[in-house]
């Protein structure tokens, strides 16, 4: 039996080693890849859940990789914030992997081995970024996640190649910014360990070097999360990515980047520095407002379903960045809660999009015609995700929006409150437009007495994950209070 002491490292090591194993197994027989991937991710999820329980009971866990003491060795730090994010990342990756089977077989039957190897490596990168307490180690894993991501997106062929290249350029700039920021911090403090930096930093608050470091690191994170107006790379990359890729990266990539931003804000630079010394608080909330409004409006103008979803991601990033920069307890709580909720909601929508692509060979809005009759269960599960995006109780989306709006009221940032409500209304229009398309049959101006439509549900391997996610959205909503009191309230910096 593995000791609970080792859970933190197992979260990362299990998928890392499995990635190599999957490559070897896949070269023997590619049918091994899928089960091996599921096993690896399930193992990682189990370790993450175990860690989450430990954090809930014991508080913050420090794990020294290889036994080296910090600040010299790499330290894994699991606190109330990333314990939660780790479970989300591992959980979403597992569900996305389960649902990927048919899409992968359909879209690139000759690259199954490569796909799953990269898939697991990407998950490793995301988990590693989340768990580490070392600013430079974070950069390394950021690159692992990014490089695998570029390749996974490029598997979409044709237009995906160009989109991926575009993403490579912008993503590399983002990672470089982050690295430069870390470099500045290292020069000034001589340390790469986040907790260590944070204790050294207050005496250096006034210096330009720290100012530059802060701005570079935050800019890096913003580019990576496609924060308006740095979002240009995202819509194409996620639209043209293969279904199985977008189900993994769309829910996770931006959310982990938001997590990194929050980590940098509160665990590296410190809340005092970012909210009182840095003069950008108001500006960021305004930019977040613009992200929400802009993302919503762009989403409204799309005819392509998947592309519409990508613009919604841009808007949702605005929710979280804005919430974190409101500098109020409820705003930050909302932002963190929304990382969890939005990951699950986005997963729901992209799993549905994968089903649409699998069933109709396209992802235009018109591909959805008559879906309610053909796939009642699939559509019901999708409807739960859609209602959560709109923010209808008791789905998860309602409660994070609840905190975010209250945070906005507390901070007196009314433009942000209005933007959130506006986005809810736009989402209502967007999703009810889809419901309408899916509800009315293609040619029914004759009082709907058409021939009975045969029920043609999505295959089990796709429907079941979607249903699980839909249930999770409602459960997360109902347990919002528990999540906030057990985890998130400890993650909000004291004295705000």
């Amino acid at each position: 039996m593995i000791s609970p002491e080792q859970y933190p490292v197992l979260i990362v090591v299990t998928p890392l080693l499995s990635a190599f194993l999957i490559n070897i197994l896949g070269n023997m027989d590619k049918r091994f890849c899928y089960p091996a991937t599921l096993l690896a991710l399930a193992g990682s999820l189990a370790a993450a859940v175990g860690t989450l329980c430990r954090v809930a009971n014991e508080g913050v866990i420090h794990y020294r990789v290889g036994g080296w003491p910090p600040p010299f060795g790499i330290e894994y730090v699991v606190d109330h914030l990333n314990a939660l994010v780790l479970v989300v990342v591992a959980g979403v990756a597992l569900v996305a992997a389960v649902a990927s089977k048919r899409s992968v077989e359909e879209e690139f039957p000759h690259k199954i081995t490569q796909f799953y190897t990269l898939f697991v490596l990407l998950t490793t990168g995301l988990l590693g970024m989340t768990i580490t307490g070392d600013a430079f180690n974070l950069y390394v894993l950021m690159e692992i996640a990014a490089l695998t991501n570029y390749a996974l997106i490029a598997m979409g062929g044709n237009r995906a190649l160009m989109a991926s290249f575009n993403y490579v350029v912008v993503g590399t700039i983002g990672a470089c910014f982050y690295l430069l920021g870390v470099g500045h911090l290292y020069i000034m403090t001589g340390s790469l360990n986040m907790a260590d930096i944070m204790t050294i930093l207050p005496s250096l608050y006034g210096t330009n070097a720290i100012l530059v470091a802060a701005i570079l690191m935050l800019l890096g994170a913003w580019i990576k999360m496609a924060f308006f107006p740095l979002h240009g790379w995202l819509p194409n990359a996620y639209t043209y990515a293969p279904s199985a890729t977008s189900s993994l990266v769309a829910p996770l990539m931006t959310k982990v980047s938001v997590y990194i931003m929050i980590r940098v804000m509160f665990s590296v630079l410190g809340a005092t520095y970012v909210f009182t010394v840095l003069p950008v608080k108001e500006l960021i909330v305004w930019l977040a407002t613009a992200a929400i409004v802009g993302g919503s409006l762009f989403a409204l103008s799309q005819k392509d379903f998947k592309r519409m979803l990508t613009f919604l991601i841009v808007a949702e990033v605005g929710y979280m960045v804005g919430g974190a920069w409101l500098a109020t307890e409820r705003g930050i709580t909302g932002a963190i809660l929304h990382i969890v909720n939005d990951a699950v909601m986005t997963l729901c929508l992209f799993l549905f999009s994968a089903i649409v692509v699998y069933k109709t060979k396209g992802h235009q809005l018109s591909n959805l015609e008559g879906m309610f009759k053909k796939m009642p269960l699939t559509m019901t599960a999708f409807a739960v995700g859609a209602l959560s995006m709109i923010g209808v109780p008791p789905t998860a989306g309602f409660f994070s929006k609840w905190y975010l709006i209250l945070g906005g009221i507390d901070a007196g940032q009314w433009q942000f409150v209005v933007a959130l409500l506006f986005s809810s209304l736009v989402n209502a229009v967007l999703f009810f437009r889809i419901f309408e398309i899916a509800y009315y049959e293609p040619h029914s101006d004759h009082h709907g007495h058409s021939a009975p439509v045969a029920i043609d549900e999505a295959p089990m391997s796709m429907l079941l994950p979607l249903a699980v996610v839909a249930v999770a959205i409602i459960m997360l909503g109902l347990y919002s209070g528990e999540i906030v009191t057990t985890f998130i309230q400890h993650a909000v910096p004291a004295g705000i």
């Binding site: 009221i409 409500l421 209502a428 309408e436 009315y440 029914s444 004759h446 009082h447 709907g448």
Partner: protein
Amino acid sequence: METVVSIKPLLASLVSLVAVIPIVLSGKRPNLREGWTFLAGLIKLGLVVSMLPVVLAGGTVQYTLWEVLPGLAIAFKADAMGMLFALIAATLWLVTSAYSIGYMRGLHEHSQTRYFSFFAVALSATIGVAFAANLFTLYLFYEMLSLATYPLVTHHQDGEARASGRKYLTFILGTSIGLVLPAMLIVYSLTGTLDFTAAGILSGTTTKTVIVVLLLMFVFGFAKAGIMPMHGWLPAAMVAPTPVSALLHAVAVVKVGVFSIFRILTGIFGVDLLRTLGLGETLCVIASITILAASLIALSQDGLKRRLAFSTIGQLSYIVLGAALLSPKGMVGGLLHIAMHAFGKITLFFCAGAIFVATGKKNISEMVGIGKRMPVTMIAFLIGSMSVIGIPPTGGFISKWHLLLGTLEADQLPMLVVLLSSSLLNAAYFLPVFYRAFFCTAEESLFPAKIEEAPAWCVAPLVLTALISVGLFFNPQPFLRLAEMAVQFCVGG
């Protein structure tokens, strides 16, 4: 005051939601399927009635299902006001289900399983609103009702239904997200709670300006109440099959709107606060504009259901007016009108549907002489009209009587004039329908003199509701008692 903790209010709401599963599963066997609807309806009514003695004795039945966030719980409370509404909704669901069978089968409608499923969901939401113990729970069920009624309103799935469905959602969802949600958040931000209490929760927390803004956000935000200019969805929603219009757009949905307003005014703002700030008058003006304008528009409508729709819009504002008078008698009248108007108006809608099933006619101008062909239906129509106008011996008289007394009590003579002129207008748009149905020469009549009513499943319910309308004149209990208790509770004796 006795407080009973029991899961019954939750069950009363949930039973029809659970019934959706057997309804869907027995979709291929219509008789069994409708059996489930009736079973759920009976259990629902039974549960509601079983709580009646406690409530009539001055107690409440409470149940907290789940506290999601601190101060934000899904909680139920059956008190006099909620009981009044739940009793009406549960009774009329049963009646409407019987009528639905006659109507939907008579017209060989498609997708009847979907129809009965969403009907059950809608009723679940209605009872949820009635028994909601706080604004959050109310909002949750309010939204659930909006969503569950969409497939009912757009049942025909043709171009017209699509357009009406859009209008419906724009009004209903637009206002609930755009106005009620932020208002609710501001209230929560100010007070840290959303519970309905006897004296309201907003008193002493903020300035008059904020109170006024919140009041307007709530009153117009609950667009289901159809206060102008938020009424546009109601006539459009008449594209729905008639039983839907009958139950949802004369009883459940629209009454959920006014009930919510009633709850907000008494439980969140509090009668005293509104009195002190003199906001009753403002609301009276808003309500009376709708009353008069809707009645005038109703005069010019030829579509029978559209005329009924505008009549409903006017009558709903009676209820709002009753609350706005802030006088005990007026509020009793308002609450009582929820019941009286429900029975009267549902009769009228049933008649409109019966006429459509039997003859295919929708317009009033095509109904000359129809009384000779469908005498039972048209006499029921007369009784329904009388109740809505407020002529004895019908229940409508009792509620209007209280409303009129309320205007005197509150010293609001202009409102007395509004109510009386509206009654005249009501008579002017309803009585000609009845008159032309019976009193015409043989040449003018568009129908042969042979009696040919709609199927019995259609006729029996409308006779029943017409009889209840008359019966309520002679014995308005338990509704009157419940209304008085509810008012006593929030006015504080």
